[in-house]
């Protein structure tokens, strides 16, 4: 999706002298390796997933099922509760990122770009560091930090006299997903921060100086000069975050296990997909329902991304310097 956004708008030069030129085979040849790999590893599996979603039965006697799998997933009581629960949880998981991670990232970027800040490089590296850690480590480390038995969280809270605030967050239905959301924010805030930081550095000094001459400084300068120039970047960040959140799976799986407990309160679409497709303990994997969940995930992401591109991203004003 990112490539689609970042593609330059066609500039019309190419068509100008097309008729006089010979067929340019080298373009096809240069594209071929990438296209082949992409087709084999991405396009074909995706197509096969769609196909599987329209069938049912075991591998040896597979039958065409039309839209039956989708009807079961969305409407049948046995599946629908799980599906809608996972969808609602995914939306909540994304909301945390939208409302906490992105403002936080912009704030951090703004602070980092303050002129004369000492050790800015150190902060930047420290905040970016968790992004580079493996999700297995993140899940494990946070499980330990928050452990009521040997975690540092209860000890640290006790040190400042707030022990009563401690809860076994990952084990309570009402907190588990939110806690995981914050862990994920902690892990990934580095990426939007670096993107916003780069966008802020790209703002020409003349613009800011002109603002200062007009008496716009400090917070007013941030909200009236920097932020409007940042909106396109924030838009891209939002859409990337949305896509990765709706395909997210690993953090919940490593921290909460395959049943995304307690009582499915941290079950997001990714974990539902894994459980359905590969099974869990006595539950056998079901490739057809799994493919149906995967297809639904793809359609949801596709719809939202298209909607965003058509209705929001196009309306954002880009300034040329």
């Amino acid at each position: 999706m990112a490539t689609a956004i970042l593609q330059p708008v066609g500039n019309g030069q190419a068509q100008a002298s097309q008729s006089t030129r010979p067929v340019r085979w080298h373009i096809a040849i240069f594209l071929a390796p990438a296209l082949t790999i992409y087709t084999l590893l991405m396009a074909l599996p995706l197509a096969e997933t769609f196909r599987l979603a329209f069938f049912r039965g075991a591998a040896h006697d597979r039958e065409y099922a039309g839209l039956a799998n989708f009807r079961v997933l969305i409407l049948d009581e046995r599946w629908a509760a799980q599906f809608w629960n996972a969808l609602a949880n995914s939306i909540w998981f994304f909301s945390i990122h939208l409302l906490v991670m992105i403002p936080l990232a912009v704030l951090l970027a703004a602070l980092l770009s303050v002129r004369g800040l000492r050790a800015a490089g150190l902060y930047r590296t420290a905040i970016f560091m968790p992004t580079m850690l493996s999700f297995v480590i993140i899940g494990f480390v946070w499980k330990l930090i928050l452990s009521p038995l040997w975690g540092v969280a209860p000890t640290l809270l006790a040190a400042v006299g707030l022990e009563s605030l401690f809860q076994p967050w990952l084990g309570k239905e009402q907190y588990a997903l939110t806690a995981l959301g914050f862990i994920s924010v902690w892990q990934y805030v580095g990426i939007p921060m670096v993107l916003s930081y780069a966008a802020m550095l790209a703002i020409p000094a003349e613009v800011l100086e002109a603002a200062e001459v007009d008496g716009i400084t400090g917070l007013a300068q941030f909200f009236r000069i920097r932020l409007p120039l940042l909106w396109p970047t924030i838009g891209v960040i939002t859409i990337l975050t949305f896509v990765s959140n709706f395909n997210s799976f690993e953090l919940v799986y490593t921290a909460q296990g395959v049943l995304a407990g307690p009582n499915f309160s941290s079950d997001i679409l990714g974990t539902l997909l894994y459980r359905t497709l590969f099974g869990a303990q006595l539950q056998l994997g079901d490739p057809h329902m799994g493919a149906t969940v995967a297809t639904m995930m793809f359609l949801i992401v596709l719809m939202v991304v298209c909607g965003f591109l058509f209705f929001v991203q196009r309306k954002l004003v880009r300034y040329q310097f």
């Binding site: 075991a58 591998a59 040896h60 009581e77 046995r78 599946w79 799980q82 499980k143 928050l146 452990s147 009521p148 038995l149 040997w150 209860p154 401690f166 809860q167 076994p168 967050w169 990952l170 084990g171 309570k172 239905e173 909460q256 296990g257 395959v258 049943l259 407990g261 307690p262 009582n263 499915f264 590969f278 099974g279 869990a280 303990q281 006595l282 539950q283 056998l284 994997g285």
Partner: protein, 419 residues
């Protein structure tokens, strides 16, 4: 062109030559397993004993992580890269493999007569006509306790429900110890070590399980709800923050001596022996009233089957015959105390804790976990639901009655005899 043909011929000769040499060299068999904890035991004790007798066959034990085993095995089987011998999960996971032609029928295998029908049930078709894995071991549920803590608190192992809670409250009152080492975060312990551990005493083991299968009993019947009421009473005896306590947390809590009683499966014995610095004892799940007949969950857990695609089927069968022998039973049960051989031949155990578990087989009636045969075939999956509601009942977010209703509703939605 002729050059190509020539190279093809050379290639053909080479491969022919290779296959000839392969026939002469010892064959290597690979075992797929989820028991990565047992890697050293297979490598250093079990396999060498076999290789000594059969110098022409080499065996390699190649385990994956337990939670990934089913998914990994299925992918390997689909891709044709799975090992020659497949460690079998009990019931449906393996039955599905047999039905789709991944596992070979083993009725004719020499040594299969060493196993009782009950032992073979976990790896047989529903009509019990075909058996497709050699039964290896079962695990028994109960409670392991810290003898020192019991002595200090002046209590002895409970035999009835009343005594059980009495002991727990004494442990909590007198010692600064966590009485029960169990958490609800991972969920499965609340089913396997919680409900399925204590419940057979109330629904009368096989009798209750068969009634459930036949649709004559419901999970909302009192004998199935009562165990949930007892589980709900465990809450005050668990560690603070047990809602986020994981399975390894519970193990550590007990082996570090910070908890007195561990709701257990016998598979813990080997690792507890290594880690715990205090003497341990075990008691079976308490009965409702003194003198009641006792029932234990004696669950077939592990078998070994033959991959139909194995290029060394003949050698693999030689290995399987050995696995079905009395010699293997003795070797395995003593190398892995807590995994009890399913072989009819009695085995002399050396480990005292494992011996204690095994005595229950003669005192009490054995049954298997209620969800494993047939009842977890549909959606919602009954075993998964047991994990979820078990945790809910102990956490206090679900009443025992509501838990039973949720289970029964889910089961009746797809299992017809139960309606």
């Amino acid at each position: 062109m002729s050059k190509h043909k020539l190279s093809l011929k050379i290639l053909g000769l080479l491969t022919a030559g290779l296959s000839v040499t392969a026939g002469a060299a010892p064959v290597t068999l690979t075992i797929e397993s989820w028991r990565n904890d047992d890697l050293a035991i297979w490598r250093d004790q079990i396999i060498p004993a076999f290789e000594k007798q059969h110098p022409d066959i080499k065996v390699r034990f190649a385990p994956t992580a337990p939670t990934e085993y089913n998914a990994a095995l299925n992918s390997k089987l689909d891709a044709g890269t799975a090992g020659d011998l497949i460690t079998c999960r009990p019931f449906d996971a393996s039955l599905e493999l047999y039905k789709s032609g991944r596992l070979a029928a083993l009725n004719e295998l020499k040594g299969m007569e060493n196993f009782a029908p009950v032992a073979k049930a976990a790896w047989s078709t529903d009509d019990s006509k075909v058996t497709f894995c050699v039964p290896i071991a079962s695990v028994i549920h109960g409670f392991i306790y810290n003898r020192d803590a019991f002595a200090k608190a002046g209590v002895s192992p409970p035999t009835t429900e009343g005594e059980f809670f009495d002991v727990l409250s004494k442990l909590k009152g007198k010692l600064r110890l966590v009485p029960l080492a169990m958490g609800t975060k991972d969920g499965w312990e609340t089913a396997s070590m919680g409900y399925q551990n204590i419940a057979p005493n109330y629904y009368k083991g096989e009798e209750g399980r068969r009634a459930l299968l036949a649709g004559k009993a419901k999970l909302t019947d009192p004998q199935f709800v009562e165990p949930f009421r007892l589980l709900a009473k465990w809450k005050p005896y668990l560690a603070t923050g047990f809602e986020a306590q994981t399975y390894p947390d519970s193990q550590n809590l007990f082996t570090l001596g910070r908890a007195a009683v561990y709701p257990a499966g016998s598979w813990e014995i080997a690792s507890f022996n290594k880690q715990a610095k205090f003497p341990m004892g075990a008691f079976p799940p308490p009965v409702a009233k003194a003198g009641d007949k006792c029932f234990i969950s004696d669950h077939p857990d592990l078998g070994l089957g033959l991959n139909t695609k194995s290029p060394h089927a003949a050698q693999a069968k030689v290995f399987l015959e050995w696995v079905a022998s009395k010699e293997f039973a003795a070797l395995y049960s003593n190398a892995l105390p807590g995994f009890f051989s399913l072989n009819k031949a009695p085995v002399e155990l050396r480990d005292p804790l494992a011996k204690e578990f095994l005595t229950w087989r003669s005192k009490c009636e054995s049954t298997i976990r209620p969800t494993y045969q047939i009842l977890s075939r549909g959606t919602p999956n009954l075993e998964n639901e047991f994990w979820v509601v078990g945790a809910g009942v102990i956490n206090g977010t679900l009443t025992p009655e509501a838990a039973a209703q949720r289970l029964q509703k889910g089961l009746s939605s797809w299992y017809k005899p139960a309606q």
